[in-house]
C-alpha cells in the first residue's frame, strides 16, 4: 500500500507548482519588506533632517530676538533681560547655590520676545499660535505673508520654570597647572566678570506641515553677559597738542586771541595740584581752562580732557571739533556772549561734586547772558567706575595722598625711568647735561634753562616744548599769523598764559627731530610777565642757550618719547583713556547665548 502510494505521483505537477509559487512568494515578500523598510528608513532620515533644521530655526529665532532685546538695553543688560522675560516674583538669593533665582512663568513675555513685541497681542499664550501677519511662520506654499499654522511652539516644560542670575566663576590654577587651593585646602575660584543668566526648561516643539511628526526638545537657555568699557589708544605723546599739569588761560585784554590745537589736549588744574578725597582724585574746585578777552579756542582732536573747571568769560568761545570733551569740573559760561560748541559729546563724571552738596554733579552753568549753547549739544555721564579711578590714581602717582604729587607730566616722562622735570634748576649746566644724557640728545638741540622765560617772536614750529619752570608766556608781538608754531607740542608743568596774542596754532609733533625747552622749577602760581625778560632765543639747528650763553649742538634726536610701545606713551594712553572713558562713554555689552542640558522629550 505504501509502495503504491509512493509510486503513484499523479498530481505531482501541481504540488511542484505550488511549492515553486510558495517559494517565489516568500522570496518576493521578503524582498518587498526589505525594500519597504529601507525606504521607510530613508523617509525617517529625511524627516529627521527636516525637523532638525526646523528646530534649529526655532532656536535661532528665539535666541536672536532675545539678543536684540538685550542689545537695546541702555542700562544694565541683566536688568533688561529680566524685564524682557518678566516675572511676578522678585529675584531672591539662594545661599546654597549662590544664585539669584526667580520665576519667569510669563508666557506673554516670552511669546513677545519670540514673535516680536508688535505681535504679542495676537498670540495665544498657551499654544503660541498667532493670527498676526508677517510673523515668522510657514504655510504650505512657503508664503511669508500670512501666519496660519503653529509650525512650532515655544513654551515651558515645567509648571514653574526658573530664571537665575549669577557671577560666572572659574577655577584658578597654579603656574604648574595644578589646582590652586586656599589655606583650608578648598579649591579657589575667581570671577570672570561675566554675568550668567539661565532660563531653565524652555521647551521647543516643531511640527511638520502635515502635522504627523513632532520634534520636541527641552533645554536651558544661557546668556553670558559682560560689560566692557573700552580704553582707546590715545596715540601717545606724538598725538598731543598740549599736555599740561597746570592748564591754559588767556587773561583779559587778550583782544581776540585765536588758538587752534590740532591733536589731543589734557589740562590739569591751574596750579598743578590735584586734590584727593574719598578715594578719588579731583581738581579741588580749581580752574583748568580760563578763556577771556574774546578768545576763540578750537580743539581738533579725539580727546580733550580738562581736569578742572572751564571758565568762559566775555565773548570767549570754546569749540571742540571732531572729538569729545570730558570735563572733571563745571563748564561756566560766565561772561556775556560766551559759548560752548562741541560736535561730539560732553562728558561729566557720575560722582558728586567734591565738597559740594550731596547729589550735586558737575554740569554746564550759564550765569552769563546771551550765551551760545546749541540745543544739539549732547551731555553724557562717564561710567568710569571706582576700579578705574584707582587705576588713574596709580597712574598719576597719587595713591600716597600726598599734595606734593608728581602730576601727570612727570608720570609720563618718568615712565621709562627718566628723571622728573622738576628736578632741574636754573643755570645748572650739570643738570642740563643730565637732561641731555637722559633724553639721549645728540645733535641740533636747543635747550633753554631759564626762569620765567617769555616766548616772544617765537616760531616754535616742529618743536616739542617742555615747560617745567614758571610757565611760559606768549606775548604781544610773539606770534603772528597762523603759520607760527606748526607741529609744536607743549608739555607744560606750569601754566601756559597767552597774552595779547593774535593767533596761535598748536599741532601734534610726530617728528624725531625737534627742539625742546626746559625751564627750571620756579615758584608756582602766576606767571611773571614783566616784559623785562630777554627774548628766548633759539635756533632750530644749532643753539643751546644757558644763562644767555649759547652752546652749540648738532643733530639732536629725541625719538624715544615717540617710539611706539614705550612706557611714556602707554601712560599717556592710559590716562586719556581712563579720563575720557575710552573712545566713547558707551559701555559695550557682550552677550553670548548658548544652550545647556539639552535633551529630547
Amino acid at each position: 500500500m505504501k509502495k503504491r502510494w509512493l509510486k503513484d505521483n499523479r498530481g505531482a505537477a501541481l504540488v511542484s507548482v505550488m511549492i515553486a509559487v510558495a517559494f517565489i512568494a516568500i522570496l518576493a515578500s521578503t524582498l518587498l519588506y526589505m525594500a519597504y523598510s529601507n525606504y521607510k528608513m530613508k523617509v525617517v532620515n529625511y524627516e529627521a533632517k527636516v525637523n532638525f533644521y526646523g528646530t534649529e530655526h526655532d532656536m535661532t529665532v528665539l535666541s536672536t530676538n532675545i539678543r536684540n532685546e538685550v542689545a537695546k538695553a541702555t542700562g544694565n543688560p541683566v536688568e533688561k533681560l529680566y524685564e524682557v522675560v518678566g516675572s511676578a516674583d522678585a529675584l531672591t538669593f539662594d545661599e546654597a547655590t549662590g544664585k539669584y533665582v526667580g520665576n519667569y512663568y510669563s508666557p506673554n513675555k516670552l511669546a513677545a520676545v519670540v514673535y516680536g513685541q508688535d505681535y504679542k497681542d495676537d498670540v495665544d499664550v498657551l499654544t503660541l499660535k498667532s493670527t498676526a501677519t508677517a510673523m515668522v511662520n510657514i504655510d504650505a506654499d512657503r508664503n511669508y505673508g500670512t501666519g496660519n499654522a503653529n509650525a512650532y511652539k515655544v513654551t515651558y516644560s515645567s509648571d514653574n520654570p526658573t530664571f537665575s542670575i549669577e557671577d560666572e566663576i572659574v577655577q584658578e590654577f597654579n603656574p604648574d597647572g595644578t589646582p590652586k587651593l586656599d589655606d583650608t585646602g578648598a579649591q579657589v575660584y575667581k570671577k570672570t566678570g561675566v554675568t550668567k543668566i539661565t532660563l531653565n526648561d524652555i521647551k521647543i516643539s516643531q511640527v511638520d506641515l502635515d502635522g504627523k511628526y513632532e520634534n520636541t526638545i527641552v533645554t536651558d537657555m544661557v546668556f553670558r553677559v559682560k560689560e566692557e568699557t573700552p580704553v582707546k589708544d590715545a596715540g601717545g605723546i606724538g598725538k598731543f597738542s598740549v599736555l599740561s599739569d597746570s592748564g591754559v588761560s588767556t587773561p583779559s585784554g587778550s583782544d581776540g586771541t585765536r588758538i587752534e590745537m590740532y591733536g589731543n589736549v589734557f589740562l590739569g588744574p591751574e596750579d598743578g595740584e590735584y586734590a584727593y578725597s574719598g578715594g578719588k582724585i579731583n581738581p579741588g574746585g580749581k580752574d583748568a581752562l580760563v578763556l577771556d578777552g574774546d578768545t576763540v579756542f578750537t580743539a581738533y582732536g579725539d580727546y580733550m580732557v580738562v581736569f578742572g573747571n572751564i571758565r568762559l568769560k566775555d565773548r570767549a568761545i570754546l569749540q571742540v571739533v571732531g572729538g569729545n570733551l570730558t570735563v572733571y569740573g563745571d563748564i561756566i559760561l560766565e561772561g556775556a556772549g560766551s559759548g560752548l560748541i562741541c560736535t561730539g559729546n560732553v562728558y561729566f563724571p557720575a560722582d558728586d561734586k567734591p565738597g559740594g552738596v550731596a547729589g550735586e554733579k558737575y554740569k554746564i552753568l550759564t550765569p552769563g547772558s546771551t550765551n551760545v549753547l546749541p540745543q544739539s549739544l549732547m551731555t553724557k555721564t562717564l561710567t568710569v567706575d571706582s576700579d578705574k579711578y584707582l587705576d588713574l590714581l596709580t597712574t598719576l602717582g597719587l595713591t600716597d595722598n600726598s599734595t606734593n604729587n608728581d602730576g601727570i607730566l612727570n608720570q609720563i616722562l618718568s615712565a621709562d625711568g627718566r628723571q622728573k622735570l622738576n628736578a632741574f634748576s636754573t643755570g645748572d649746566h650739570a643738570k642740563t647735561q643730565k637732561a641731555i644724557d637722559m633724553f639721549g640728545i645728540k645733535y641740533n638741540t636747543t635747550v633753554w634753562v631759564k626762569d620765567n622765560q617769555p616766548i616772544n617772536d617765537g616760531n616754535l614750529s616742529n618743536n616739542l616744548c617742555f615747560m617745567v619752570g614758571s610757565g611760559c608766556t606768549f606775548g604781544d608781538a610773539a606770534v603772528n599769523g597762523t603759520s607760527q608754531n606748526l607741529n609744536t607740542t607743549f608739555i607744560c608743568l606750569e601754566d601756559i598764559k597767552l597774552t595779547n596774542t593774535k593767533s596761535l596754532r598748536f599741532s601734534q609733533v610726530g617728528s624725531e627731530v625737534f627742539n625742546f625747552m626746559l625751564t627750571p622749577e620756579g615758584s608756582k602760581g602766576q606767571i611773571n610777565n614783566s616784559g623785562s625778560q630777554s627774548y628766548m632765543e633759539y635756533d632750530a639747528q644749532t643753539h643751546m642757550i644757558i644763562d644767555g650763553q649759547g652752546v652749540t649742538a648738532n643733530n639732536t634726536t629725541i625719538a624715544s618719547l615717540f617710539q611706539e610701545g614705550n612706557k611714556s606713551n602707554e601712560v599717556v594712553n592710559k590716562v586719556l583713556g581712563l579720563s575720557s572713558n575710552g573712545s566713547s562713554a558707551e559701555t559695550i555689552i557682550h552677550t553670548a547665548i548658548g544652550y545647556e542640558n539639552w535633551h529630547k522629550e
Binding site: N9, V21, V61, I138
Partner: protein, 222 residues
C-alpha cells in the same frame, strides 16, 4: 503477462504528461505574475529610496553650507555668498560643497520683477517660462525676497534642481540682529504633458517638476 503489465504500469509513472505541464504553466503564470510584480515594486521602491537619499543629502549639504554661513547685516551678505560676480561667475553652484564640478552660469531670472516669493518662483519654474541648458542658476532679487534656482545639479548619478529662498525677518529698524528664513526645495525632472494651441498633447521632460525634499531653516547674522 503480469510482468508485462507491471512494466507498463511503471512506464506510466515516468515524467509528466503534456496536459500536466500546460496546466502547471498556466497556474504558475496566473499565480506568479502578481507575485513577480512584487519584485518590480521592490525594485521601484529601492530606486525611489536611493533617489530620496541622494536628494536628502543634496538638501543637507546645501542647508549646512547656507545655515553655517555668517552674513552681515545687509542683504548683500546673503547675496555676496551666492550671487555671481566677474571673478567667479559660477559662484552659486561652486559654493555648494560636493556639488561643484560642472560649469554653472548664473543670471537674473526672466520675469524676476514679477516674482516676490518662493511660491511664485516655483510656479514660474514649473511653467517652463524659465529654462536652462546644462547646469545653470537664476536669481530673483527683490526688496524682501531673494531666491536662487539651480538647474541640473549632478549628485550621485542623479540630476536634481534646487530652489532656495531667503526672506529677511527683522522685527524693527532698531534690531541689531536679524534672521533670514531659508526654504530649500529639491526637485527631479519628470515628464510633463503639454498641450499646444491646437490641442495636441505632447510629453516632455521638464525641470522642477517633482518635489522630493523640502526643508526650512534660519540663519542669523553674527
Amino acid at each position: 503477462m503480469r510482468k508485462m503489465m507491471k512494466k507498463k504500469a511503471k512506464g506510466r509513472e515516468k515524467g509528466f504528461s503534456l496536459i500536466e505541464v500546460l496546466l502547471a504553466i498556466v497556474i504558475l503564470g496566473l499565480v506568479a505574475t502578481p507575485i513577480l510584480q512584487l519584485f518590480i515594486t521592490s525594485a521601484n521602491i529601492s530606486r525611489n529610496s536611493k533617489e530620496l537619499l541622494a536628494a536628502t543629502d543634496v538638501a543637507n549639504i546645501t542647508m549646512e553650507y547656507v545655515t553655517g554661513s555668517a552674513f552681515d547685516v545687509s542683504k548683500t551678505g546673503v547675496k555676496a555668498e551666492l550671487m555671481p560676480d566677474k571673478d567667479d561667475p559660477n559662484k552659486v553652484a561652486t559654493r555648494i560643497q560636493g556639488l561643484s564640478g560642472s560649469t554653472c552660469k548664473t543670471a537674473e531670472a526672466p520675469g524676476a520683477a514679477s516674482i516676490a516669493n518662493h511660491a511664485q518662483f516655483e510656479s514660474a519654474l514649473k511653467s517652463a517660462s524659465i529654462t536652462a541648458t546644462g547646469t545653470q542658476a537664476y536669481y530673483v532679487d527683490q526688496s524682501s525676497y531673494f531666491g536662487v534656482a539651480i538647474f541640473n545639479v549632478k549628485y550621485d548619478n542623479y540630476m536634481f534642481d534646487i530652489l532656495m529662498s531667503f526672506v529677511p525677518d527683522k522685527k524693527d529698524a532698531s534690531d541689531k540682529f536679524f534672521i533670514y528664513d531659508v526654504t530649500l526645495d529639491v526637485y527631479v525632472m519628470d515628464e510633463v504633458t503639454v498641450t499646444d494651441g491646437a490641442g495636441n498633447e505632447t510629453t516632455e521632460m521638464r525641470n522642477f517638476t517633482t518635489k522630493l525634499v523640502s526643508m526650512t531653516g534660519a540663519i542669523a547674522n553674527e
